[in-house]
Amino acid sequence: MSSEETNIFNEMLSANGNVRSPYSQLGEWLENQDKGFLGRKQREAEIMFKRLGITFAVYGAGEATERLIPFDVVPRIISASEWRKLSAGIEQRVRALNAFIHDIYHRQEIIRAGRIPAELVIQNEAFLPEMIGHTPARKVYAHIIGTDIVRVSPNQFYVLEDNTRTPSGVSYMLENRETMMHMFPDLFHQHRVAPIEHYPELLRQTLTSVAPAKNREDPTIVVLTPGIYNSAYFEHAFLADQMGVDLVEGRDLYVDGGYVYKRTTQEPERVDVVYRRVDDAFLDPLTFNPDSALGVPGIFDVYRAGNITITNAPGTGIADDKAIYTYVPDIIEFYTGQKPILQNVPTWNCANPDEFAYVIEHLPELVVKEVHGSGGYGMLIGPTSSKREISEFSKKLQANPSNYIAQPTLALSACPTLTRSGIAPRHVDLRPFVLVGDQVRITPGGLTRVALKRGSLVVNSSQGGGTKDTWVLED
């Protein structure tokens, strides 16, 4: 590790050079492997992914191309006790966020109580007036959530983002595990790794539990995809297949007499639950974006009438908006009466003049993000940017301060990773996947994303990040 990185928490090796206990067996195993063995396994895994078609589309100049997300064969390990804390914190958070969304579209108690500014909600692009007064089954709005978490020390975890719209990546979590079990059975004999393969079952149970009450017996579930050119199409097909439900496009569904039907080779079949991977704006051209060819005309009326469940509900973006993010600790306290178990990253909201002034002064040390951005696009990472990049970004920021938030550059923890020059630490984050229905179900582990470039803090797959299998050890 280079000298400027000495403050970084290494999840395998502690400062004095000892291997931390969750990694004790893996550390030994890594040392005993032939030089070249892991590299061969890595290539084997990539060939397997390619054959399976586990790819994502990258949009750049010209046509979209299919790429593999680089896979790192060294697993990341989380101990049982670390996971207990994380999962308790995540559960608290997703319950509070769902309560928040319900409140925001009903009495707005939290605004009346003065805990969150009204304009931040009402004028927010992610706030959907069409949802006002609507209560979905079990009062759940965000059913499928991917909570992005980073670690900076043995006991400090921060929530970076709550993805409450249509989080993706769970198929990589599952395929990474399959691949690892296939390639390194001996490692699984040595460790008690909490299984994750039942995720599709849990997802189906969750979706069944939130079907409209009158048809909850054996509801028909579908996964709605924008189609084969969407960057996450593989995942849509994968989840539908694993759950044993149809993967549909907008044109496969239609509304008739207050219900949604799918077009089949026989009689049309009524649909009860739509797990949609289409953004709000494209869901229903009659209610939202009239130019959308991806959605189902009239589906929103069926939804408002309570005849279909849409997961996640339209309008859940209000809960993972970056401007709302700073209030999540208040949101947790307001709805649960408890202190947050997981901390937020300290955040400056540039809409606030004082905070904006601080941000402008300290750009070289901060990470600045667009409020509505995602995928690592349109952000500034101060410490790794040139003076010119910073001054150009500064102009954009000054032109529209309320479009940005800023955070300190976190020293993301690092995990052992296979590089050209052997095993070396690389920065990681973690996205556990959470299901909310009749109960909260959290799959142990999640997707670890790793910045493969030395020193890099950007883990997004669109920016050269890779993924790792993530193990939660059982006691």
Partner: protein, 315 residues
């Protein structure tokens, strides 16, 4: 099952079957062009290959001159030619992506690998020595897909729609080859059974992978036009004959009827066609004109295709 899924399975299997048939056609064209007798005639051979593949018109619009290299490139790689092998495999893979949940992983992986490896082929590297190897690879990939389908797919409607696509394409292909080649081989007043180059006849049989099985079935009878046509149309044990294709098409449509517990117009149409092929005699077919018979067959088959799309809500 979604109507779109049924349509995609149907088309996907047609496209794969088509890629295999195209590879066979190219292979034959290539062989015939190598014969010492062909000389200048090899140009005509490539023309008839293009016609059999149904893309001669498109070729003429694009090229002023017919060369072997241009013909091969056009049929193998050209994305402007919707009937090229590349277009077929590309469309098949897109259809497969769209219906991944209806395919077994073995089917998907075989097709996906075919496309990935095919994408790495470059027209400029397609030397004469390499071509036969590539064509045989394409045929094998199609057979691998088919094997994966037969070995792993549930015998439900997904299977029946897949089989329908494959056999309709196969029947279509056999009828077209016979129609085109037969007329080229029997110009104007040539009498059936006349002195036609026997290599040409064996080429027709090769283009449906039947040059050896013909021998087994017809023994020492030379490659007579009469028998070749009978073999390709009316012989029930020949797996690419029209009547064989229709026994599968009918069986698939009856299978769907049975599964859905509902009679369909398309099953009735297919049964009629099957019955007709089963009871036809070569004497009558030649008396009324082979070309007329095949044309009528292709028209009926198109009608059946539309009827299937209507009955099972393809879109």
């Amino acid at each position: 099952m979604l109507g779109r899924t049924a349509a995609s399975l149907f088309w996907l299997c047609r496209q794969i079957e088509r890629s295999e048939n195209l590879a066979r056609l190219l292979d034959v064209g290539y062989r015939v062009a190598m014969l010492p007798s062909s000389g200048e005639g090899h140009r005509e051979e490539w023309r008839s290959t293009l016609i059999s593949a149904g893309c001669e018109e498109g070729f003429r619009e694009k090229y002023d001159e017919l060369t072997e290299r241009a013909a091969i490139n056009y049929m193998l790689f050209d994305m402007d030619n919707s009937g090229s092998i590349r277009c077929c495999l590309h469309a098949a893979r897109n259809n497969a992506k769209a219906v991944r949940t209806a395919l077994t992983s073995e089917m998907w992986e075989s097709l996906n690998t075919t496309w990935l490896e095919f994408s790495e082929l470059r027209a400029q590297n397609m030397t004469s020595n390499r071509l036969p190897e590539v064509l045989s690879w394409i045929k094998q990939r199609s057979m691998l897909f088919r094997g994966a389908m037969l070995g792993t797919m549930l015998r439900d409607d997904t299977y029946y729609f897949s089989q329908l696509g494959a056999f309709m394409e196969r029947g279509d292909n056999t009828a077209r080859i016979l129609d085109v080649k037969y007329h080229l081989l029997l110009p104007d007043n040539e009498i059936v059974g006349g002195g036609v180059d026997r290599y040409q006849w064996s080429a027709i049989l090769r283009s449906v992978s039947a040059h050896r099985s013909y021998r087994w079935v017809y023994g020492d009878k030379a490659n007579q036009p009469w028998y070749v046509a009978e073999f390709m149309m009316l012989n029930q044990i020949m797996p690419r004959s029209l009547v064989h294709c229709y026994s599968w098409i009918t069986e698939s449509l009856l299978g769907i009827e049975n599964l859905y517990q509902e009679k369909s117009q398309s099953a009735a149409v297919a049964s009629d066609l099957f019955q007709k092929l089963r009871t036809s005699k070569m004497d009558d077919i030649f008396a009324d004109g082979l070309h007329e018979f095949l044309t009528e067959f292709l028209v009926s088959q198109n009608g059946l295709s539309s009827q299937i799309a209507e009955d099972y809500h393809f879109y």
